[in-house]
């Protein structure tokens, strides 16, 4: 909830969301971000332990730009964040 409020009230470049979060799930936060005009195009990367095809599909269906499965390499995460931000800048 705090993250959603922060994204709405501030200028944010990218959102990294875990699917399992206290309060609202990352999927719900992603849907909320996509539903609001101000954050509809905000790049979103999901980080989650759920790796089955159906889980990934649900993540992308909620509006995620990329999907990273735990355990993940922080350097790979950094590369993906850079790649998503570069795509947005283009």
């Amino acid at each position: 909830m705090a993250a959603l409020r922060a994204a709405r009230e501030n200028t944010v470049d990218l959102a990294l969301l875990d699917i399992r979060m206290p309060g609202m799930s990352g999927l719900d936060v992603c849907r909320e971000l996509r539903a609001a005009a101000r954050t509809a195009t905000l790049p979103v990367i999901m980080i989650t332990a759920r790796s089955q095809e159906a889980d990934v599909e649900v993540g992308f269906a909620a509006g995620a730009d990329d999907y990273i499965i735990k355990p993940f390499s922080p350097r790979e995460l950094s590369s993906r964040v850079t790649a998503v931000l570069n795509r947005v800048e283009r």
Partner: protein, 241 residues
């Protein structure tokens, strides 16, 4: 019923509700205070920790030594974050975290904590050693399978799963954790930490044909107490899959 008695009962109920409310609010305030205090203590080392996780191998040494030398108070506040990270990161970041634990001597402390009188400390130690894949602790972890506390038994069983199953177990939390918890927590309280006899046969019958191979392996682990070394358990798991 006399009015005085009714009023007394209502007042008593009101007092109980008020006391419970105060207890809940007080508990939340204390928890929030502790969390903020922990964040305040950890704040100066968060940056170096993130740098360590993203660093190239040759850049890690200095950061590792810097983090290994933090004071005890900061380490205690940081350790839950490190333990959580061990289960979430892979590759060089994971190796760096394991080296940090080694430099700090935290694995040795965790082995000592396996014999602690506190169930919470025993469980936490089992979790840390499992995530570190600390092979010398395997016999002690096997003994914890007979712990009187079911949560400790669960932590000890999870800690002994081979690395590839631990990782997959983490990736299928909803399915596999449910299966592991279900089997492990149904064991009789005293001697046997897990299902046995007819219950075990029934459980194996249910899960042996499970669509996820690792569930079959995990369930099979219930009958693994006679396997003393991790190597024999690993080969057994490979055969079963």
């Amino acid at each position: 019923m006399p009015t005085g008695l009714l009023n007394g009962a209502l007042l008593g109920l009101l007092a109980v509700v008020s006391a419970l409310s105060l207890l809940i609010v007080g508990n939340r305030l204390v928890r929030r205070h502790r969390q903020r205090r922990r964040e305040r203590i950890v704040a100066p080392v968060r940056g170096p920790l993130l740098q360590l996780l993203c660093a190239e191998e040759d850049e890690q040494t200095e950061l590792l030594h810097r983090l290994a030398e933090i004071d005890r108070r900061t380490w205690i506040a940081l350790e839950p974050t490190l333990t959580a990270l061990l289960g979430k990161v892979a590759g060089g970041a994971r190796t760096a975290l394991v080296r940090l634990y080694e430099l700090r001597g935290a694995a040795v402390d965790a082995v000592a904590d396996l014999s602690s009188r506190s169930a919470a400390r025993r469980g936490r130690a089992a979790q840390v050693l499992g995530q570190l894949r600390h092979r010398p602790a395997a016999p002690s972890l096997c003994r914890l399978l007979a712990d009187h506390d079911p949560e400790v038994r669960l932590a000890a069983a999870r800690a002994q799963l081979p690395a590839h199953i631990q990782a997959r177990h983490a990736r299928h939390p909803d399915v596999e954790q449910c299966q592991v918890d279900r089997v492990l927590t149904r064991g009789p309280e005293r001697r046997h930490p897990v299902l046995h006899g007819r219950d075990l046969v029934t459980a194996l019958g249910q899960f042996e044909r499970h669509q996820i191979p690792d569930v079959r392996v995990v369930v099979g682990y219930q009958d693994m107490s006679h396997y003393s070394s991790c190597d024999s358990r690993d080969s057994w798991a490979r055969e079963r899959r």
